[in-house]
């Protein structure tokens, strides 16, 4: 017994160890995202606290801690400025957690450290919400609950099975209520303040294309988006995922002009047809305004707008996983080319190398029509060019240098030079960036389109056919279009490896496993992470819940029901906690009642056994043993197990 209370009790050293371990586990997921200096400071603060367990004199007093805290505060301010974005707040929280742990001397301090740790726990998700991180976080969450339990008891050991079990039970019990809130808490409340996301990494294709940009992506295994087709699967080589359309070039690079109002007005959705392809596209956040769709999207899905050059433009930058139901068509949609578009699609920079113009003019004179010109150009590429991931670097005039000197390149090189040549030949052309192909996941039944599948191609305007897709890369490396690149096999200065041969044996199993993991990830993304305002409304409308008022009503009533349910379970289970020895004894009495009559309420155990032995002398010896065993468990040091076993063995 102790008279110490919560505020003055010294801190349990084992709890400090636990909190240091939790702190380390909390910082680990941040190592990839936060500046190395903050990670290092965080770890040092924790190491310091661990050191004080063995050398208590190194515990800093407030005269050391105060300047340290102020200094670290200034460091955060200096690094991030006044903006309290996710990087700044994560760094600040990690430091505060370390400092508070260093300062902790009482259970009350420890309680605050644990609370901060809960907050730090959710910060990695602001960067990336991967399934494995979530499982990892769930484990830390459990440890934190256990830390709370240890802190509120005076249990000094961490190896306490009942307390470990209790933390797990509370966690399991919390899940139903959490699910109710997760599904029903109104999500349409938008961002509360503008998120400074200047630091958020833009992944995938950017809004500017120069010959070399796409080849950097070919080594990335990251998923760009996943697609599940509703009907039959299209052929691999027709999987052109259309993204931003580039009209403007300065000779060096092609830059994206954000679509103007006029572009949206002139968009003409194509009416639904039987041959349309329906699919759900789950987009990873790429922090851009555009969406990818199978060439060509027929209409705009929710939250996007269609432009006249068949781009899908999002209402706001994509910062979280969202899935889109898209309809694409294979039908041609021939429209007139407006004068402005014509001049945009023919404009070549003034500084274009004369050799380029001369080459284009040569094709024009030798061919009968524009289709012929395109064919001649493709033939030119097919004859003289190489497809490589590591092309020689190009100087100030990349198109001419590539066409006449290096002749080695990636899709970016081919497409940019081809478009320039077409314009020089008087054929309106534009550049389309996106992805080509994807890896089909047989386990999950969806296409996984990776950054490695990034691609650039060209569209040319032919008067009788409208805009026609021309992919010069296909002319040089048909494999690229038939198969996907295998980023794990790429080596510098060697041939590009494609996913060609179906794997055998062990490799096959490895691939199956990879697919399984990937499909797990898909379901995770699709059902958990993408559960935002749109999906919530969509999901809840199936149950007749249409607006946030309904949500709140349902939330309240379901919460009440869940609480009632868990309360009744606890109360029912409580009744069950009967002493096992007593249970066995009562069972024995019930068994004996058939022979000797029920045990009378006033009878003591000894009286009862004496009476039964008289009435049932055949088993006198057994009954004596049972009596002794029972009395020993009650008043001596008898083993409950032995008594229970003997009762079980006893037969009338």
């Amino acid at each position: 017994m102790s008279t110490l209370n919560h505020a003055t009790m010294p801190l349990n050293p084992n709890l400090i160890k636990l909190l240091v371990v939790i702190g380390v586990l909390l910082i680990v997921p941040h190592t990839a995202e936060l500046p190395i200096s903050f990670i290092a400071i965080g770890f040092s603060l924790l190491a310091w606290r661990a050191l004080t367990l063995w050398a208590p004199k190194t515990l800093p007093n407030k005269w050391l801690l105060l300047p340290l805290s102020i200094g670290l505060g200034f460091f955060v301010l200096k690094t991030y400025g006044m903006s309290l974005g996710r990087d700044a707040s994560s760094s600040l929280l990690v430091l505060l957690m370390g400092l508070k742990l260093l300062e902790s001397r009482t259970p009350r301090d420890a309680q605050v450290v644990i609370y901060m740790s809960f907050f730090v726990l959710i910060t990695p998700f602001l960067f990336e919400q991967r399934l494995e991180v979530a499982i990892y976080a769930l484990f830390i969450f459990y440890l934190l609950l256990f830390a709370l339990v240890v802190n509120s008891t005076r249990n000094t050991s961490l190896k306490s099975p009942p307390l470990l079990r209790l933390s797990g039970l509370v966690l399991l019990q919390a899940i139903p209520l959490m699910l109710v809130f997760f599904l029903l808490f109104p999500r349409m409340i938008g961002p509360l303040w503008a998120m400074p996301d200047t630091q958020s990494a833009v992944s995938g294709i950017s809004d500017s294309i120069n010959p070399g940009t796409v080849s950097n992506l070919a080594l990335s295994k990251e998923t760009a988006f996943r697609v599940r087709f509703n009907g039959s699967l299209p052929k691999q080589k027709s999987l052109y995922w259309r993204g931003p359309v580039f009209w403007e070039t300065d000779g060096q690079s092609w830059t994206l002009t954000p679509p103007k109002k006029d572009s949206f007005d002139r968009a003409n959705p194509i009416p639904s047809q039987r041959s349309d392809i329906q699919y759900t596209l789950m987009m990873e956040p790429h922090h851009q305004f555009w969406l990818y769709a199978l060439d060509i999207p027929a209409a705009a899905p929710t939250n996007t707008r269609l432009t006249h050059d068949h781009q899908l433009i999002l209402n706001k930058k994509l910062t979280r996983n969202i899935s889109f139901d898209i309809r694409s068509t294979t039908q041609k949609n021939i429209t007139e080319l407006s004068d402005t578009d014509l001049s945009r699609a023919l404009k070549i920079p003034d500084n274009t190398d004369p050799r380029v113009i001369a080459l284009a003019k040569k094709w024009v004179t030798t061919s009968t029509n524009k289709s012929d010109t395109v064919k001649s150009a493709l033939q030119f590429y097919n004859d003289e060019f190489y497809y490589t991931l590591k092309p020689p670097s190009l100087g100030k005039n990349p198109v001419a240098e590539f066409l006449f000197e290096s002749k080695r390149g990636f899709c970016g090189h081919f497409a940019t030079s081809f478009a320039t040549l077409m314009r020089a030949a008087g054929i309106p052309s534009r550049l389309v960036a996106g992805y080509q192909g994807g890896v089909y996941n047989k386990v999950g039944g969806f296409y996984n389109v990776r950054q490695a599948d990034a691609h650039v191609w060209v569209e040319v305007w032919l008067a009788d056919k409208g805009w026609v897709r021309v992919d010069p890369t296909a002319a040089i490396a048909p494999n690229r279009i038939e198969h996907s690149i295998d980023p794990s096999l790429q080596r510098i200065n060697s041939n590009i490896n494609f996913l060609l041969t179906p794997p055998e044996g062990l490799q096959k199993w490895a691939q199956q496993l990879k697919w399984a993991i990937n499909s797990l990830d898909y379901y995770w993304q699709n059902s958990v992470l993408a559960y935002g305002p749109e999906k919530q409304l969509d999901f809840l409308s199936k149950f007749g819940i249409l607006d946030w008022g309904d949500m709140v009503k349902w939330l309240a009533s379901l919460t009440g029901l869940t609480l009632l349910f868990s309360l009744s379970i606890v109360l029912l289970l409580q009744k069950e906690t009967h002493d096992p020895v007593q249970k066995a004894y009562l069972a024995l009495c019930k068994k004996l009642a058939k022979k000797t009559g029920a045990r009378l309420p006033h009878e003591t155990t000894t009286d009862y056994f004496n009476r039964t032995i008289q009435l049932y002398p055949q088993k006198a010896e057994h009954l004596r043993t049972l009596q002794t065993l029972y009395l020993n468990t009650r008043y001596g040091k008898g083993s409950p197990q032995v008594f229970i076993q003997n009762v079980r063995r006893f037969k009338l």
Partner: protein
């Protein structure tokens, strides 16, 4: 027994406890209350901040863990309740208490099943003790009290509380008991000489076999409960066993502890002096009687007699 509605709603029930009726109280849902603790309110603020961050970034995993934390805190209330419910509390006998000294309030907590209970705080008038119940079925708890006046002392509310398991909710059960504790006057020796009132001869003769402390009369086997001062240590050291010294108190007299003998003292001082004499005489093994105005206890000795005398002194009220 069921409560009337007015009693049900009375605020006193939450702080002081229900009016005392039984000698032992079983903690059930009617007696256990639960509210967030200070740490719990802090946690609420943390959860709110986490929610704001989740809303702002519309972050699904942020929502998941925020709600999970809130739900876990909610679920902990059941365990706080379970940690207290079912316990049976009863007051136990207190050793003799004297005014002006520190005594103890003793109670027994009984765990009827074999459930484990953690970090239960028992408090009475600011005195706090914390204990776990892991193996014990009966746990005696002692809380110190400062007794200031003689007479009946009614224990104030004993509160059993717990912040288990997370420290975010405090479940408590205020208990009132009806068993008062008798507090004897503070024994003070004011230096007054004790006046002897020797008894007459016949009585004196009858007293010859009376045990005393004056003259050594021989050895007798030691009996459990005898004062250890009477043990003959020499015999014990010689490994002869435990023997107690026998004294005869031939000239021993019964003593009247008289109210009148301390007439120059104030009321409480008189009682204190008499109390001191009672204790002293009992310790000396003398026969003593007590005379208070209107009360007379015939000379006797023994623990019962001492209690009877002290009770009269404790409850004496001047006419």
């Amino acid at each position: 027994m069921p409560l009337a509605l007015s009693k049900h709603l009375s605020l006193k029930r939450f702080t002081k406890g229900e009016a005392a009726q039984q000698t032992h109280i079983k903690l059930n849902h009617r007696r256990i209350f639960i509210l967030p603790s200070k740490d719990g309110l802090t946690l609420a603020i943390v959860i709110l901040l986490m929610l704001v961050a989740s809303i702002n970034y519309n972050n699904s995993m942020g929502f998941v863990f925020t709600f999970l934390l809130a739900a876990a805190a909610q679920a902990s209330t059941l365990y706080s309740f379970k940690n207290l419910s079912g316990l049976i509390v009863s007051l136990s006998k207190t050793p003799d208490c004297y005014a002006g000294s520190t005594g103890h309030i003793n109670f027994i907590i009984k765990e009827p099943g074999e459930r484990e209970r953690w970090a239960i705080h028992a408090s009475h008038l600011g005195q706090l003790k914390t204990f776990d119940i892991t193996k014990d079925l009966l746990l005696p708890v002692k809380l110190p009290i400062q007794f200031s006046h003689r007479g009946w002392y009614t224990p104030s509310t004993i509160t059993l509380s717990t912040s288990f398991p997370f420290g975010v909710f405090r479940a408590w059960s205020p208990l009132l008991f009806k068993q008062p504790i008798l507090v004897y006057p503070q024994p003070i020796d004011t230096g007054l000489a004790l006046e002897f009132y020797p008894l007459n001869k016949e009585q004196n003769g009858l007293q010859s076999s009376q045990l005393g402390t004056d003259d050594f009369a021989g050895l007798k086997p030691y009996q459990l409960g005898q004062n250890y001062r009477q043990i003959n240590w020499k015999a014990f050291a010689a490994e002869k066993g435990l023997f107690s010294n026998e004294f005869s108190a031939e000239q021993s007299a019964s003593i009247w502890l008289n109210w009148q003998s301390c007439h120059q003292l104030a009321l409480e001082e008189k009682l204190s002096q008499l109390c001191f004499w009672v204790l002293n005489c009992e310790a000396e093994g003398l026969k003593y009687g007590l005379r208070l105005p209107g009360i007379e206890l015939a000379p006797s000795h023994g623990i019962e007699h001492q209690r009877a005398c002290l009770k009269e002194l404790a409850l004496y009220e001047h006419a």
